[in-house]
Structure formats: structure tokens, C-alpha cells
Point group: D4
């Protein structure tokens, strides 16, 4: 079994019926399918369509994710991904990232809401996620947590701007801007792009544990 | 002598001759005149115009400022303003702020370039400016230093976004955005607006030392 | 009792249950908790969670604020904050600022809707808020009232752009832009950022009445 | 002789030779031609081309304007246009407006730099331009002077945003935004568009003095 | 009775109760009050509040306008305003303009939807509004009709960008941009700003019929 | 010989030496090479490099184009392209388009500067370019000429926004916006993109004369 | 019967009653009428209005289109248009384009969702639409499919940016930007502008099959 | 010797003298210093300042980089970084990335200008950089090459938008937008940010070869 990119479907902008048929096709072809940004309405339709197929549908609403599987187990690669969020409003995006990274065989350690109460929460949080090969840091509003983390760890840090905030550049643009302008070394994904962050991080973590050898 | 707002002239966009005549008028009327964002060409013309008037022209090119004075001394109010910059590229803006605050009677303490080499420079820097009533923090690129300082001191902190940086939102917009979105409590002035920052800070510092009593 | 920054929670973007548990934790730890930008749905959940805890929940819907308290009294610092709004649409933002400043021990004087009927309402309004150490001025659309006030008083003036208006730059951007470009000396907070304006102003007012001595 | 729109040429973006030939053609056909936004290089070429044609070239560099004429006199309509500027940096745009309005037969009264030293200069300035049928008000930075004037006079007021200022929206956008969002009744032309303001105002002034009767 | 600016209230962003009390105050003080951008919910509350006061409430939902009056008649000034729209989606904005201009004593002639079916509808439309002192032209999408009209008539033309359209700059920005950049001589008001257009046009029309004499 | 896309090189952003070596390589391989947006400095270097190679370098500065050729003749396809410009400032972009379309075997008919003096120049201009299979219309500022042409001809019309103009959206954005929002049926290329317009039009014209048969 | 542009009505922004009356007028005058961007509410009203008129109303909700017809058959021109979409979210826009091109007499071949599963779906897709005179390629998010297709076919390619996506430039702006910046030769229509794409493509296809001869 | 982040200085916005003294300080303290975005003027001053210090200054103008060293050799980590550019205009940014990655001990393989002549150059190019642990892909204009590469390799791909291009979003914004919106899994750095891309990639490559073991 390959630990490559999962067959993932962006549910947003698709009809529920279309989503169901894509997921079923994937699951039948390769055993698993993952959908992101799924609405409750879409989930209900997919659930009905899965009925009687023998496949298992797992809902992870905290990350807006549906997973359809024929029961085979995920290969564990040994790659370790840390996910940190500045606030609680960033958790949905973080969870999307987590589920994708797990789908790619990684172990995920999380430390959520470390920025809210000030920097003193950050050091114990970093302890909790010790040993990770790569860090995902999600932050809204001014989006500065990724740069702070990148100044403290010597692993790759991926910033995820989150569309919380209000007013000027309040839908994630200030966070995106400050991450791109950061003096710290970090790379960035799109606003709210948990999927991309998770998949990119898993690729790094899996590379770190030697998946390159097998290829 | 009042420690109010100085008669300040924004040189940018004025003819050199026009600038000279405004400054002379101010200096004759109230004894002093300060011009900001002065180009070397403008300075030369003003210098020539001042010749023989008995007034003294002081050039502070590190802040782009010219001061024309009839020799009377500035009243010292006892107000204390701290100015911190993230990098060396922010110094011109900081110096403009400093000269304005001094013009308004304040003592100014500076700690420049504290963000460049990482946060470890910040704590000794804050020691150096201990005792200030108010903090001006100038920062370009991602502009996060003001928020960090605002999390560490319990005085008012004024953020000044600086137009260093390149690429996306690189002319100070990312810095402005992250300061406005900041979870820390701070207020902001326009990009590169050293004058406004200095004058606003001086007003606070002078208020703190009791100038209100006299009014 | 310290008159520092209150433990404030930004309700927007949080689940109602999460909000309730944060507020209860704060109130148990330090006796008070304040939440801003609270929706009626969130308020209902918080109210249910508070039931039976012995804590008192005060709702201030005119400012979108909830206050949870164990009954201890707020310390009064003597700091005086004036809040002026241009129109009636700016009042919600002004009220958020007011409640935060009061939470920080200040006395708040308000003069609302002074710009609507033209400048002739402004002079009596300024009389009403006489004696304030600092002014918050909230304005939408073209957002010019803060600059006008800053030209008339010699205290620090904080501009708050408000997202009323329509059309080009109608969600507060024109107001933000005109405040940042203002020739008057003022500083600015984010669009609709009543919380930041209130906390920043209170910090100045408390500094003015000498809270620095005690520290 | 008609007092309609003059044959005006926007010099910017044209070759000097092309500009010269257009102006000559106009002047030969209808006796006069006016060019705006003329550079010194273009002026030199036009001057050479005019030599020996018997036409008169008048340069008005304070407004960036060239006028080519066969000597016939301008008809005076009796229309009266007032032009007010906030600062001295707005004068070039104002002068462009003035020359166009004069070309259309109007008498133009000006009051420049009234905003710089605060509102107390505005009332005497309005006295100076008493009797005008229409007001052009040019302002950069926060661009609020047109709205103030529109609140004081009962004639039509045309706002001209000027591209002075720096930082956020500093190239006239803040001024444009605040004029469009203004609660006062005024209409607006493009940033720096002296020509349009002058021609539009002249049309109104000429309408007021009855040019409609003749048509 | 003066034919000046009516006491007009922008209903948007106000509570229904607040709106009602402002309108009643105006109507009692000066006999009439006009509100724009009124929602059906607001109208119902105002209607209830008016009951029993002896005042008459007129609803003009095609323009989103409410008029409250004590029955005195509007003075007719003789000023004539033409209003032209490019499409049917622009009519609400045009009607707002019309009601305001009528409130200021003008006669209003309209030609709606002339751009939809191509330019051949424009010439007969201009015939219908012959004799107007001033033209308001409302257009969405590319917003070019005002410039076309300004090329055909020798009266002042006021462009009103309307927020119809979709995609890039589809909320009126393309229309605003093309009007401001127009080679034709026209002035512009904010996107959807029927009120400002109507009041500005009425001021011109009333000037044309000699209201200046009386002042 | 194929009448496909020419080997074209965008000179802007390339070193002069790099440009020369690419052009020589193309010309040696396939007999011809065309470079666009060439600066005089680059042209000099290319000219020196061509010396002694037996190839012919043709400079077309009016379109910013260099053509390097081994002397073989261009195949004429019979496709006919019309190019119309609103003003004289649009000519450089139009000429770039023309040279590319000619390079692709088309006959090009031009009518420049038809919008400057008003619509009356347009009808005779359209006569001059009668018989074209496709129209390119370049326009700056408000950019409305393409829509007007598209309303008058029943061939495909390609709009080219040009970066003339000043102020708000003055670098071609208003023109781009009004073309994209146009009710007329037209398609658009990038601001100033003469190359793309010419190549796209030639492809249509060549299709119209049956080049498809040969393929 | 002419195969020109159909009488098309943009339903968005019109009242349902207004839409019905325009469609009926068109259908009575010329036998057919097509409306785009029709909501279900509008459709119901039009359907009721059509009852008893003898006309036939066809609803094509997959493209948001209504067609009203007196039964006459569409002339087939022989023009062939290919429509390709990157994803399933682009289909509504593609269907709008298709219905318009069919209305103009063309045969339309479609290949939808070719980009979703990677480039390997593209080559068989291109086979399916072989023989087309012109290609419409609709794509959201990064919008790169049109450029890829333009590199593979030698027919004109029209890019349609679609407003799917989220985050930075996620409402079609990134797609628009990358299409306009593309090194491939393609032209572009507004975001989501299926109508314009279909009509423009049909014009090209009909030109290719010789409709020019008849004119 | 650590293979961590080099002491790097952003020369842009610094005085030449300041740059020289920072580089000398770094080189004396830790043996090496690297400066990016160095102008020829700055280089001359640094060169003079280095004279006689015994340190070696290496200039890499193709990447705008200066390296100051005391002669100690760089540790080679075995990490392998591939850098690919779409065009020749992207090379300066790529070279900056290369020099930084080499400074961090990596071997760098490059394949430049692969996108210019179409995708057929890409496959051999990928062969040339076979075996890399991580890919940097720099691209201007529409910026799509990173997504293409990310679809072909199973290593992490970092996109670098480059500010080539003209017109709408032509200073790298379209490239940034299409990279952030990409359906492929990639992460992004700021426009033109060669330094960040190189350092981020080196961190990944060094992680892949086991630098984690030593920590
Ligand atoms: N560098 C500066 N930034 C912002 N405002 C300034 C600056 N220098 C002077 N000013 C203020 O700008 C206002 C207008 O300037 P002036 O055009 O000189 O009258 C004056 O009230 C000055 O206090
Ligand atoms: N309305 C508000 N606007 C801006 N900041 C706020 C607001 N309400 C609370 N905050 C602050 O936002 C920070 C983050 O909030 P929280 O997510 O609750 O931890 C806290 O430090 C609060 O002081
Ligand atoms: N003026 C221009 N505008 C747009 N594209 C161009 C221009 N000139 C050349 N091109 C195209 O740009 C692509 C990339 O150019 P190059 O960097 O020269 O390989 C080539 O395929 C050319 O056909
Ligand atoms: N979906 C659409 N997108 C763009 N233009 C359209 C659309 N539907 C109709 N149109 C055109 O828009 C123009 C104005 O539409 P209308 O407001 O219906 O007169 C007409 O000429 C139609 O051809
Ligand atoms: Mg954050
Ligand atoms: Mg900084
Ligand atoms: Mg206001
Ligand atoms: Mg101004
Ligand atoms: Mg229109
Ligand atoms: Mg034009
Ligand atoms: Mg796509
Ligand atoms: Mg590229």
C-alpha cells in the first residue's frame, strides 16, 4: 500500500449527488475516499448513497470531513506532524489538516488555542508536540503565530492563514500578508486551506522517515 | 510657553520656495518651525532663504527634518516617550517621530533594530527604555513587533507600519493589516507616519505628567 | 485589585459552548469575564451554563457584550474617557468601547450622533464630555469627525472607523483611509474595533490619573 | 461665438510631434486649442512647430496647460466659478481647472491653501469667492474640505481628490473615498482631474447665467 | 418656503424605532421628512408611530423612500431634471433620485431602460426629456451610458454607477471606474447614491431657474 | 510553410545578451524570430550580435518589435484583421498586434484615433476596415470603444485595455473592467497585450479563410 | 432566418414580472427569447405569464436558462463549438454557454470535469471534442486549464474564469488573473460569463463555416 | 558545525555602511555572513570595508548575493534541492534561493527556463534534477509551473511567484494567486522571495538526510 496523496474531494460547489458518486467511485477503485468542506446536507445524501454498499462512512464534522472506506487499515509511516492553532476559531481548519495527514499515514500531535492567552502558553505547547518532523501553525487575525514558532523550532513550519477577524483585511488577508512578509523562514498555503497544509506536511514528514527509499 | 503641537510643515509636495516662506513665517510669528519629509534640494533653498535672518536652521537628515528657531529654548515637560524599531530600515521614520516628540517637550528614549536578531534583543531593549509613559513601535514587513511589545508593557503602545518589504502587501500594507488585526491592544497611524506617531505619543506623555493641570 | 486589561473574549467565531466554558473559567479564576460581539444564540447558551454557579451574568446588547461576575465591585480609577459618535449607526461600536473602558475602571462620558445634524451639534457635545483625558470618536462613511475633534481638543483622540456606508469603500474603508490620511494628529484602530478603542483609551486615562505610581 | 466645451487635448501619453499637429489643426479650424498635462519637453516641440504660423502660444505652467490661439478674444459669459484648495500641493490641479473654466468664458475666483492652517482660514476664504455660481474644491490626503464647503454654501460643490499624501490610500484614494461617502451633497471627478472639474463647473455656471436661452 | 435641501434620513443601519423618532421630530419641526433606503420592516414601525399624529406618511417603495408630511404643499421651483437609466435594474436608484429632486421643488422627466436594447432607444429617449437643465444617468455593469449622454447634450450630466453586474468589479466598481475615467465631461456620485444625485441635480436645476436671485 | 504561431520572445525582463541568443537560435532553426517589448538598449545588442550572420534584423519601434529573418517570405493566408484604436496613446499596443498578425500571414487594416474626436469619426473608420474577419479594438481610460464596435459589426471583437489614463483605476483597470462587464459580446486580453490580441485575431481570421482544411 | 445574436435577457436584477413581459415581447416580435441567470422564483412567474399564449417555455436549469419560443426551428449553421470544464463546479457556467451557442445555430460538443483527476483525462477529452472550430474552457480556482488547452490545439481558445475556490482571490480573481497573464494565446470573458463566452464562440464558429459569404 | 539557518542580511533598505558593519560583525562572530538583494553601490562599500580584515568577500551578482567568509568550509549535509524556473526572467530569484540552500549545506540542481518553450522541455528537465528531496519552482506571469511539477513528482514542491509580467496582477499577484488556489499540493512563499524558498527547502532536504538524528 502506498502512502501517497489520498483521493480527496472538495465538496464545496458540488451537488450532493455528484459528491456521493465521486466518493463511491474512488472507494470502489482504491478502497478509500476523503471529502473536505462537506455540509450537513451533503453528508446526509452521501450517507444514504453508501447504505448497503458494504463501505463504512466516517464523519468528522470538527474538520468538515467525510471518509469512506472499505475497511482496509491505513498504513502508518512513522511521520510525525505537529499542528498548533493560535485560537479556538482556527480549530476547524486544523482538524481538516489533521485528518488529511493521518490519511497519509502520519501521526499527528496537536496543541490548540496556544496564542489566545499570550505567549506563556506556547512553551508548554511546544513541549506537547516535541519530536514532530514538521509544524503546521494556523492563525487568524494578525496571523503571527507561525513566525513565532518558526523562530523557536528548527523544523519546517507551514503557516495557514485563517479567515477569522473583522474589519480591514479581516477575512484572512492580514494573516496571509504577515505570513508572506515574515522575516522567519516559513511557507504558506491559501487562507483556510487545511487540506493543502495537511498533505504538504505529511509529504515532508514521510520524506523524513525515509519513504524515499522505497520509491 | 505652551508645550502644544509644534507648527509643522509637510515638505513633500511643496515647492522649495514655498516651504522656505512658510517656515520663515512660522519662525517669525512663534519662534520655531519644523518641516518633515524634506528633500536635500528643499533644504538647500531653505538654508539660503534663512541666511541673514538671525534665525538658526538645524538639519536632522536622519529623520528628514529641518528645524528653524529664533534661539529660544524648548520647554521640557517631563513626558517620556520610548521609540522602538524592529529593523534598521525603520529608523528614518522613528527619528521623525523622535524629533517631533522632543519639539513637544518630551524626553525620548530609543531602542533601534531590536527585532532583527530575534526576540532575545527585545528584553534588554525594553530595559533601556524603562520608565517611558508611552511606546512608539515602528516595524515593516509583517509588522508584528508592536503587538509583542503591547503584550509586555502596560503603557499605551502606538504601532507605526513602515513601507519596507517587497512582494505581496510589501509597501507597508501587511504591517498595517497585522497591527489593525492585532489581538494586543494598540493603536495605529498611517504607513511611515513618524510625525503623527511622535505628536500623538507626546500628547499622551505630557498628559501623564500633568500638563492637564495647567489648562 | 488591578485596573489592568480585563479578561475579554471575542465571541465571534467561537462555539457557544466554548464561549461559555472560557467565560466560566475566567470568572472563577479572577472574578470577572467580559465577552464581546456576542450573538443572541451564544448569550442563551452562556446563560444556561451560568445557572446555578452563583455568578451573575449581565447582558449589554446595545454593545454586544456579556459580563460574568462574582459580584466583586469594579475599582474606579478616576480616569475619564469621552466617546463621541458621528451617527446613530456607530452607537453599537461606541457602546462596546464604553463597556470595556468601564471594566478598566474609567468613568465614561458619551455624546452620540453629533455629526448627523451638522457641526452645530458638536460644540454643545464637546461641552458635555468636558474634562475627559482622552477621546474616542467613532464615525462611518467618510469618517471625518475624529479629525475635526482632534483639531478642537488638546487631548489624545482615537478614531474608530465604522462599517456603515455603501458603495465604494463603503464597509469602513473610506473612513479608515481618511482617518489614517488625516492632517490632524490622531491614532486609529481597526474598523468596528470598539474593544481595542475602549481598552487603549482606558490605558491612557488611567495613566493620566497616576496609576503609574502604584506599579 | 459658442461658449461650449473647448477643443482640449490631453498631452500625457502623446508624442510631442503628435501633440503639436493636433493643436495646430484645432487652432486652424476653430481658432483656439488647449492642451493639459503638458511636459516641458512637449512644450518646446509645440513652440517650435508654432513658429511662423501667426498663432500665439501661451504657456501656463502652474496648471500644466498650453493655449494656442489665433488672437480672437474669448467670449465672457458672466458665469462665476470659485476654486478652493485645501493645501498648496493641490494648486496645480486647481490651476488646470481654472484655465479650462476661463476658456469656457467664466470668471474664476480662487482661494488656495485654506485648509492647511485649520478651519479659521475657511470663512474669510469663502468671503473672497462670494457670488460664485458653483464651487470646485480640491483636496488631497483625507480630502474632507469639499464636504465642509458643501455644508456651508447652497451652490453645487464639485470635489476633486488630489494625489498628495503617502501610505495607505495615499495617492488620492482616501480623498476619493471620503468624497464619495460624504454625507454632504457633492459630486466628484477623477483624482487630479482638474480639466473635468473646470469644464463641468463652467457648464453649470454658464447655465446659471442663462446661456440656455440662446440655444 | 425654502427650496433647499430636504431633511433626509438614511434609514439603513438605523433601528426602526430610531428612524421613526427622527422622522417625527423633523416633520414636527419643519413640516416634512424624507427617509431613503427604508426596509419594509422599518416602514411598518414608522407607520405605527405616525398613527394619530395627524401627519401623512407616503411610501414610495419603487425608490425605497418614505415621506412624512404635515400636508403643506411642496413649492415648485421650475427647475427641470432628467433621469435616464441604462437598464431596468437601475430604476430603484433612479426613483430615489427622482423623489429627492421632486422634494426640492423640481419637475422630473424620466426615460428608463434606454441602454438595454441598444443606442437606437437613446435618441427618442432624449427627446422625451428635452428641456431639462441637468441630466442624471444611472448605469450598472460597464456604466458607459452617462458618457454617451454627455457627448450628446450640452447640459451638466451626473453619472450614477449602479451595483448590478457580476464577476470582476461587478458590484458597481467597473461602472464607477469608467465614469471617472471618461473622456466626456461628467461628474460622479457614489455607487447606488440616488439621493446624492437627486439633490445635486436639483441644486443645479434650481440655480438655472434663478433661485440665486432670491438669496 | 506553416502559418501558425510565430516564435515570439517577450524581451522585457530578459538580458540583452540572452535576448540576442534566443532570437538567433530561433532564426537559425526556423528562419524567423520576433521579439516584443524591446528596449532601445536591447535592440542595440541584438543588432551587434546579428552582424555577419547573414540574417536581416528589422526594427519596428512604433510597436516595440524586432524581427529577425533569413529572408524567406511570409506566407499570406488571406485572413483579414482590423485594428481600431480609440486614441493615439493606444497606437503602440495596436502596432504590436499588427506586426504579430502580419507575421501569422494576415492582412491588417487599421483605423487609429477614432474615438478622440467623438463617435462621428467611427463610421467612416469602420468603412476603411470593411471586410475584416475579426476586429481588435484598443482603448484606454474608460475603454468603451470595443463595446461600441461590437454593437455595430457582426464579426468577433477583441478588446485590448490600454494603460493610459490617470487617477482611480487609471493604469488600464477601468478599461479592463468596463470591457469585462460589457453588455456587448466581446472577449478581452490583458492590459497592453498587443501580442496576444494580434495572435488570437490572426487565428480567427485564418480559420475564416479555411486554413482548417489543410490540417 | 438570421443566425445572429439571440435576443437574450439577463434575469438577475430584474423583477419577475418585468422579466416575463420582456420575454413575451421578444417572443412575439421575433419568435424566440432566451433568459439567463434565472431564479426558480422568476421561472414560476414567467411560466404563469406564458400560459395561454400558445408559446412554449423550455427550462434548462442546469444552465440557469429559460427559452420562450413560438415553435419555429432553430437554423443549424454547421459551426462547431467545444466546451471543456476543469471541474464539476464549472458546469453551470458551461451549460449557459452551450445553450447560447446552440441558440445561435451551432453544434456544441462538451467534455466536462477533465481537470479534476489530472491531465490524463485531458487527452481523451480533446478527442471527444475533435473537429470543433473554437474552444471554450471554463475553470475556477487557479484557472489554468484554458492555457493548457491553448497549447495543444490550433483553434481559438476562450477562457472563462469561474467563481469557485475560497480564500485569497478565491471568487474567480485568481483564475481571471492567470488567464490574462497566460503565455498561451487565449482571450477571456468576465468571471462566470457563460453567456458572453457562448455568443463569442458561436460568432467565430459561424464565421468559420462561411456565414460571411451570405452577408 | 551546525547546518542551520545562515546569518543572512536583507540589504534592501539599509545604508551601505550599515550593511558592511552588520556583515563584518556576523563574519567575525560566526565565520560567515550572507547578504541578499545587494545593489552594486552597496557591494562597493562592503568591499572597501572588508579590505584588510583577512575575510573573503564573494559576489554572486546573478542572485544579488554577497558572501563574507573567514575561509572555513561549508559542511555538506547531503540534502538535495532542485530549482526549476519557468522562464529566464525568474533566474535571479532562483539563484538567490540556490545560494542560500548551498549555504545551508545542500547540493542544488537547477533546470532553468523549462516553461518557455512549452511542456516538452519539462520532462527532460525533471530528469536533470532527479533525486532531489524537495523542489523549488519559480514562475512569473500566470505562475502555473509549480502546480504542474507538483502533479508529477512526489516530493514537496515550493512555489515562488516572480514579479515578471505586466498589466492586471502583473507584478506577481496572478502568479501568487494561482499558486495559492492550486488544486495541486504545494506551499508558497512571498513574491520574489528566493531567500525564504531556499532556506525552507534546505530545511526539508536536511531533515530528509537525517539531520534530525543529531539533534
Ligand atoms: N510627516 C508628516 N506626516 C503627517 N503629517 C504631517 C507631517 N508633517 C507635517 N504634518 C502635518 O500636516 C498638516 C498639513 O501640513 P501643511 O501642508 O504643511 O500645512 C500640518 O498640520 C502638519 O502638522
Ligand atoms: N471585540 C473585540 N475586538 C478586538 N479584540 C477583542 C475583542 N474582544 C476581545 N478581544 C481580544 O482578543 C484577544 C483574543 O481573544 P480570544 O479569542 O477571546 O482569546 C483577547 O486578548 C481579547 O482581549
Ligand atoms: N508582448 C507579449 N505579450 C504577451 N506574450 C508574449 C509577448 N511576446 C511574446 N510573448 C509570448 O510569451 C511566451 C513566453 O515568452 P518567452 O519568455 O520569450 O519564452 C512566448 O510563448 C511568447 O509567444
Ligand atoms: N448571463 C449573461 N451574462 C452577460 N450578458 C448577458 C447575460 N444574459 C444576457 N446578457 C446580455 O446582457 C444585455 C443586457 O441585458 P438586458 O438587461 O436583459 O437587456 C443583453 O444584450 C444580453 O444579450
Ligand atoms: Mg493570530
Ligand atoms: Mg517587522
Ligand atoms: Mg462619518
Ligand atoms: Mg485634504
Ligand atoms: Mg451600463
Ligand atoms: Mg477609451
Ligand atoms: Mg481550475
Ligand atoms: Mg509562469
Amino acid at each position: 500500500v502506498r502512502c501517497g496523496m489520498p483521493e480527496a474531494v472538495l465538496a464545496e460547489g458540488k451537488t450532493a449527488a455528484g459528491l456521493a458518486s465521486i466518493m463511491l467511485a474512488h472507494a470502489k477503485a482504491i478502497g478509500r475516499s476523503l471529502a473536505t468542506r462537506v455540509s450537513p446536507e451533503q453528508e446526509a445524501v452521501v450517507r444514504a448513497a453508501v447504505e448497503g454498499t458494504g463501505l463504512t462512512l466516517t464523519s468528522r464534522p470538527e474538520g468538515g470531513v467525510l471518509i469512506l472506506s472499505d475497511g482496509r487499515e491505513l498504513v502508518r509511516t512513522g511521520g510525525k506532524v505537529a499542528i498548533i492553532t493560535a485560537g479556538t476559531a482556527d480549530i476547524r481548519v486544523a482538524e481538516e489538516a489533521r485528518l488529511v495527514a493521518e490519511e497519509m499515514g502520519c501521526e499527528v500531535m496537536t496543541a490548540y488555542d496556544v496564542g489566545a492567552a499570550g505567549i506563556h502558553r506556547l512553551f508548554p505547547a511546544l513541549q506537547e508536540v516535541m519530536g514532530a518532523h514538521v509544524f503546521i501553525v494556523a492563525a487568524g487575525r494578525e496571523g503571527t503565530l507561525p513566525a513565532v514558532v518558526a523562530g523557536l523550532v528548527d523544523r519546517p513550519v507551514i503557516g495557514v492563514p485563517v479567515s477569522t477577524g473583522y474589519g480591514y483585511m479581516g477575512a484572512g488577508q492580514a494573516a496571509l500578508g504577515s505570513m508572506l512578509q515574515s522575516c522567519s523562514v516559513l511557507s504558506v498555503v491559501n487562507i483556510d486551506a487545511g487540506f493543502t497544509a495537511g498533505a504538504f506536511a505529511a509529504r515532508i514528514a514521510n520524506l523524513a522517515v525515509g519513504d524515499r527509499e522505497e520509491r
